[in-house]
């Protein structure tokens, strides 16, 4: 027994004695080099390192890849032109496979080496990291448009939130599809932050326009929406809103078309994917579906968008052409704008980045995303949306039906419960 203790004691002494040689020992005498430009983690004399936590193996691997291509397109070009503040912008990319635990580990592994997160994909992952983002003052480009994220000042939401998209969608239905007071509308939505944020918008809009709302919550894994659509049909709903995943959109619209239930469907941006137009549901989608989104379609006609699109096609000729590629580019533009402002302020620290972010009151991404205003912390950054329509003839599978607009309610709406 005593021998055992002695062994332990000696070993412990050996370890902690040796700790003096640890690389983690902080040298109290060193102080940040005094210069004109204040710099934070991940910033050297020649580079700025940003983090990307994305999904390369999970359900959003395809989306993540498109965003990444758009981002790479922007930064390759920008770096070739000198980068930001005379520094090249580079990335550490980590895959979390849509698993929050992986996201937390990955975040821990990069947080000391990056100035900000250029991209953080996935609602559960963002939710898991919300507190860390705040305590680390880590400016984060979220790949999620939920207004529940607005309370965190470090989260950059690039576009309208799901609730506002739905308010605009209902407004558009009332104005263009003849919905009147007392009519029934259905909303099929995911359980989870995404679906519920969309539902908050539908609830607000239904109240505003005096519509009767029939909500149906589904699991992200539900594949067949016959039951929900059947129920809405027999209840006599005049229009259906969707805050779901693409396959579910196809199922819902397909089922409705097959049974002669010819009501319009309006979906949130993430509910549609170009891949749907290769399925049997294509005719039904082209006939009955609309998409409300603040991201311009891949086929957008505005000159700025067209330029980006051509560059994208030139660089990634084989890549899938979806609007998220443009979004990735636009998000990079937004981040570059923040970095430029911070550079101008001589403050490339995390606090400086936040200040720069909150000073962006008119962000124009050449029409890739609706105009953005980040200057009101906690406020919705954009309130305008396009209404798009699936069209297999158009590049990216969507064409514009209605240019950017904002419903009166969308202008005044503030998220609450």
């Amino acid at each position: 027994m005593t021998k055992r203790r002695a062994v332990l004691a000696i070993a412990l002494v050996a370890v902690f004695g040796a700790a003096g040689c640890s690389t983690k020992v902080v040298d109290a005498s060193s102080s940040p080099s005094a210069g004109k430009l204040a710099t934070g983690p991940g910033v050297t004399d020649t580079t700025i390192t940003l983090g990307v936590l994305t999904d390369r193996t999970g359900p959003y691997a395809g989306l993540g890849k498109a965003v990444e291509q758009g981002r790479t397109l922007f930064w390759d070009d920008r770096n070739a032109k000198g980068g930001v503040c005379g520094r090249k912008v580079q990335f550490v990319l980590k895959d979390h496979g849509y698993n929050p635990q992986n996201a937390v580990t990955a975040y821990a592994s990069i947080k000391d080496n990056v100035l900000a997160l250029h991209e953080l994909l996935g609602s559960p992952e963002i939710a898991a990291l919300l507190d860390s983002i705040q305590s680390d003052q880590m400016l984060t480009g979220a790949l999620s448009w939920s207004s529940s994220l607005l309370s965190n000042p470090y989260v950059v939401i690039s576009g309208t939130t799901y609730d506002v998209e739905m308010i605009n969608a209902v407004d558009w239905l009332v104005k263009n599809k003849g919905l009147t007071k007392g009519d029934k509308i259905g909303h099929i939505f995911h359980e989870g932050d995404y679906g519920e944020n969309g539902d908050a918008g539908v609830v607000a809009a239904a109240k505003e326009y005096g519509l009767e709302l029939l909500p149906y919550k589904i699991k992200p894994t539900t594949a067949d929406l016959t039951a929900q659509v059947t129920a809405l049909k027999s209840a006599g709903a005049k229009a259906i809103l969707l805050t779901v995943a693409p396959a579910q959109t196809a199922s819902a619209v397909g089922v409705a078309a097959a049974s002669g239930y010819a009501v319009p469907f309006v979906a949130n941006a993430p509910s549609f994917s170009t891949a749907l137009l290769a399925t049997a549901a294509k005719p039904a989608l082209e006939k009955q579906l609309y998409v409300a989104t603040s991201i311009a379609p891949f086929s957008a006609t505005a000159p700025g968008a067209a330029q980006v699109r051509d560059a994208f096609v030139a660089k990634y000729s084989d890549a899938i052409k979806i609007q998220y590629a443009l979004f990735g580019y636009a998000q990079a533009q937004i981040m570059a704008g923040i970095l430029d402002t911070a550079c101008k302020n001589n403050d490339l620290t995390r606090a400086g980045l936040l200040k720069a972010f909150q000073s962006q009151s008119h962000v124009d991404t050449n029409g890739l995303i609706a105009p953005l205003d980040f200057s009101k912390p906690g406020g919705i950054p954009a309130r305008q949306t396009y209404i798009l329509k699936p069209d297999s003839a158009a590049a990216g599978g969507l064409t514009q039906v209605q240019d950017l607009f904002a419903a009166p309610l969308a202008q005044s709406y503030t998220p609450s419960k």
Partner: protein
Amino acid sequence: MTQFLQLLAGGVSLGAVYALLALGFVVVFKASDVVNFGHPALLMIGAYTIARLGLSQVAFPLAVLGGVLLAALTGLVVQRFLVAPIASTSVVTVSIMTIGVDILAQTEITRRIGVDILSIADPWGDRVVRLGAVDVPQARVAGLVSSVVLIGLFLAWFKLSRWGVAMRAVADDAPTAALMGVPRKVISALAWTLAGGLAAVAGVFITAFPTPGLQPATASVALAAFPAAIIGGLDSIGGAIVGGLVVGLAESLAEGYEERLSFLGQGFHSVMPYAVMVLVLLVRPTGLFGTRELHRV
């Protein structure tokens, strides 16, 4: 009333497809005592092959044949090279091995699918059959008919052929089966092959209309085989069929009447098959048709 009938029709036709999945699961369990966590992977392999062949303009029946063969072959290979070598150890260990197989296969198929939703290119499209006031997709009708035919063939084979009799014997009493000249190994291989084939067929109807096609999340549908097999009784072929129907109906009705279940919280329908399963197990601990255990020392 129309809604109820519509949901009933949807539930039964979906349940028949679940029955195919549960059947494969049960057959493997009967023959080798192994819980095949790789069952979803077999479905994915089959459905992916069928969809890809369809995209390369292979005629639908041939594409299905190809998918069934490949999934069956995968089942056989897994049994032969992974399960058989460690069959003498604990069945829990072997079951965990199938988790490895599942991860491997699903990762590869997810990678290959990417952002696509692969249409299965079936001949039924989105056409529906109108039965009175009820619309049933043709694909679902085809699924129901295929399931009934396949299950019928299986039952006949199981009752009549030498192999079927041997398989029953293995499930009841392995040494006796060995005496009949049918090694357990062969029966086990046969069961895995069969499970692969059935899963591929189920894959066709799970990805056909009203589902838009094959995507990575399709695998989670195969999880319905667990409660279905348990409700019916793990070692009962007939039970798998009943269990499949029960799960299909429970899901469909709970989804359709979601608003009346709202006191249980939104989205309760996804818990419904499991709730039914636990209730069944509380009354009958080995499922509806499972063998009641006799205590013997």
